[in-house]
Symmetry: C2
Subunit: 348 residues, 2 copies
């Protein structure tokens, strides 16, 4: 099965990404040649989604390594550690970012005894490509596990974009939908528009529509009514970080969806690779919540919508407690409560 979309590509000495800020009305690419380019793209949200941020960060270290292969080991190592530090400061909530950068750091360390920038560079490139390929496989696997929850005629709801565009191509929350569609199942998806950056209206709607899946956009605040009126059979969302107890961070608003799903008796599933799980963190309240520029709220499409002099507060994520989660779909299987025990069982 081919992935529905290709948001990132390793081109040997540079990285091509879909510039997601252009979607859905235009499709444009960006070429990134340094770690700084990638850090800028992550911070500016030309690419986003925890798994894709992880892949891009690993590719960023790899592309940076290529630039410094003729340096001394000390210079090479210093440049790469600086790149890793810069990349890790881009998005504080994304678990996969730190996971991928840790992997790169370990590859770098393992080449310190030999002291060959050339060899380390090759290994970093190979590892970045491996992270990408593993994510493709992981996505497909999560899709094949999650599809068993979908019934013919189901109506699903999702928040933000946890799709192909948030990963190497199959997505997390949307992966079961792509597999269901490939199997010829009929189902319908409501996509929360996901203010402030409208990843649902722009990205989820774009990629599902492109794949031929029946998708309807609603305002974030409409999901509560939809669930209370029986219009939604189940919720699939992605995650930016899951703690060892099953609490998880995801795009702002996810917690509200989860509370309403519980109130309406609608099953609520998180779909995320094991790399999203931060086994060193227990409580959701310990996940750092990124606060973004208030202009994302006060301006829409460049048009100011609030009165002059009125501030806006713009937390990018919220934390949903494990007790509201019906199950966590990972590439290692569908994890059910109790999460502390059952997540520990899949710890790599």
């Amino acid at each position: 099965m081919e992935p529905p979309v290709k948001p990132i590509e390793w081109l040997g000495d540079r990285i091509r990404i879909i510039d997601q800020r252009c979607l859905p009305l235009k499709e444009c690419d960006l070429t990134l040649e340094t770690a700084a380019d990638v850090a800028g793209a992550i911070k500016g949200m030309a690419l986003r989604g925890a798994p894709l941020i992880g892949i891009a960060a690993a590719m960023a270290v790899a592309v940076e390594a290529r630039h410094w292969t003729s340096s001394t080991w000390d210079e090479f190592e210093a440049r790469l550690l600086a790149a890793i530090e810069m990349l890790s400061a881009t998005r504080p909530t994304a678990g996969n970012l730190f996971w991928a950068l840790d992997r790169s750091r370990k590859v770098l360390e393992s080449h310190k005894p030999g002291g060959s920038p050339e060899a380390a560079s090759s290994a970093l490139i190979a590892d970045a490509i491996a992270i990408y390929s593993e994510d493709l496989e992981t996505g497909l696997r999560m899709g094949r596990i999650g599809v068993d929850l979908i019934r013919e005629g189901s109506t699903l709801l999702t928040h933000c974009n946890a799709g192909g565009l948030a990963t190497s191509g199959f997505g997390t929350a949307l992966a079961p939908m792509y597999v269901a569609h490939q199997r010829g199942m009929n189902f319908k998806v409501y996509a929360d528009e996901t203010r402030p950056l409208l990843q649902g209206a722009r990205l989820t709607a774009w990629e599902l529509k492109r794949a031929g899946i029946d998708v309807t956009v609603i305002c974030d605040s409409a999901c509560h009514l939809m669930m209370s009126r029986g219009a939604v059979d189940m919720v699939f969302v992605g995650s930016d970080r899951i703690t060892s107890s099953g609490d998880f961070a995801n795009k702002i608003g996810t917690y509200g969806v989860a509370i309403s799903a519980r109130a309406a008796g609608v099953p609520f599933y998180v779909v995320a690779p094991v790399s999203t799980i931060d086994f060193d963190l227990e409580k959701g309240e310990d996940i750092p919540i990124e606060e973004r520029d208030s202009a994302e709220v006060t301006e829409i499409s460049g048009v100011k919508v609030t009165p002059r002099g009125v501030p806006a507060y713009n937390p990018a994520f919220d934390v949903t407690p494990a007790e509201l989660v019906s199950g966590i779909i990972t590439e290692k299987g569908l994890i059910r409560p109790p999460y502390p025990e059952n997540l520990a069982g899949i710890r790599p």
Copy 2:
């Protein structure tokens, strides 16, 4: 105490309103000379808010009556009944609209025996002005009752605009805030932006800021996080229709705010005049929910944000069950549960 804003004014032979679609960056007025003008303004949301819609509808019948005073009674009556019918088709959820039009219809009927369009017209004008003045008094009264719930240093959250701009001038949910501010109390307000039409970001922020009240705008989806983190002490919202059991309709998203408020132990108050209560309706599920044009979701400030060919669903209201409501502040007092009994006690 002067009202903080004057959204509507009876000018003897026409009506002046603030065109709320211009706010917050421009301030422009509209002059309405016929019932059709007013119906268009209500439908197009140049004015909105259940109490203000009621006032405008009564003024619309009055302005229309003035046009037909030299007709026969039969023509006069037919024209006015047609105007009432047209006006009642503008916004199906607003309880005050039907309440005000019923009042106009009764004034009209009471003049049938005399058969004098001139006399009926004078009575309709007097009644429209009375509805306006009563609303001013009602707003101030609700403000003075609701203010007792606010403590020095409180942080309040509100959804949509239930302010001066939704009424004759003091508002419903915002009335207690204006009274608190006039008394020199310090408090802070979070205004949900309220997609799709951004009444919170545009109107609530505008009128609170204008009055010198500390207001911060958040995305609708951020209220759940704010409440779960203890950043909100109480919620005040308005209502478009309250049933005899205390279930109530309000702007889409209110139900989600209420569920999260309950989950976080945050008191949740509805502020509405008795005219919003539909004593003939028992269950919230029987309140008709207006569905508005999907373009309100798919376009923001005239810019298309969804992919071509993807539909949007745009319910304008949702219904919150009485069990999530800590109290209903009316001009007759703060009504606590059990609502069926306690609301019946204030039935006019």
